[in-house]
């Protein structure tokens, strides 16, 4: 069964606005990762947050993790048209299996 579920399924914003995507999962994890996929391409790793971390930053990306609620959020600040892509959260459990959700499709209008 699906481990991670992203919300919303799709998001449309104007360039310059912030985009927030959420992820909920079901079981205990070692770490949680966010990936990005441009249409027709492979997934690209964005950021990893470990189960004992609560917040992490990388450039315009900010990730939070709440293990008590089994949820994470990805914030992209000052979005650009080039940020248009699908974003997936991925959870890693003890067996090093990485489980993905269905993704959030982000469309940034120029």
């Amino acid at each position: 069964s699906q481990q991670g579920e992203e919300d919303p399924q799709a998001l449309s914003i104007q360039e310059g606005e912030n985009a927030t995507m959420n992820c909920s999962y079901k079981t205990s994890i070692n770490n949680l990762q966010w990936y990005r996929q441009n249409s027709g391409r492979g997934l690209v790793h964005l950021i990893l947050i470990r189960s004992n971390e609560r917040e992490k930053h990388s450039g315009r990306l900010r990730v939070t993790l709440d293990t008590s609620k089994k949820s994470s959020s990805l914030l992209i600040t000052a979005s650009r048209a080039a940020d248009t892509a699908s974003y997936f959260c991925a959870t890693v459990t003890g067996g090093f299996k990485t489980i993905f959700g269905a993704g959030t499709r982000l469309f940034v209008k120029a």
Partner: protein, 118 residues
């Protein structure tokens, strides 16, 4: 350094035919994963190799799917006979061996093989 490469990028076959997908991981990566995405749904885990051994094949749908990784280098995923519901994009990913300094938890993905079964 070459990334993960997959072949073919797109395959169109008829129901009942056989298709073999190939994945060449990044050189030196012991972990190799196969995933499948169907019609905008979740990216579903199929199986995980560590070198030539199947570490976890719990996601393989049924015995029409056969994955191999002879010699611990490239991997193939064969679907025989293909059914309509097998259509989707098959992704391969690799990573260095767990516990090594090179393993950051990140998976490196290929661009996928799109399979269409008519």
């Amino acid at each position: 350094e070459a990334g993960v490469t997959q072949f073919p990028s797109h395959s169109v076959i008829e129901k009942g035919q056989t298709v073999t997908l190939r994945c060449d991981p990044i050189s030196g990566h012991d972990n190799l994963y196969w995933y499948r995405r169907v019609m905008g749904k979740e990216i579903k885990f199929l199986l995980h190799f560590v070198k030539e051994s199947k570490q976890d094949e719990s996601g393989m749908p049924n015995n029409r799917f056969l994955a191999e990784r002879t010699g611990g280098t490239y991997s193939t995923l064969k679907v025989q006979p293909a059914e309509l519901e097998d259509s989707g994009v098959y992704f391969c990913a690799s990573s260095p061996y767990a516990g090594t300094a090179q393993n950051t938890g990140e998976l490196f993905f290929g661009e996928g093989s799109r399979l269409t079964v008519l």
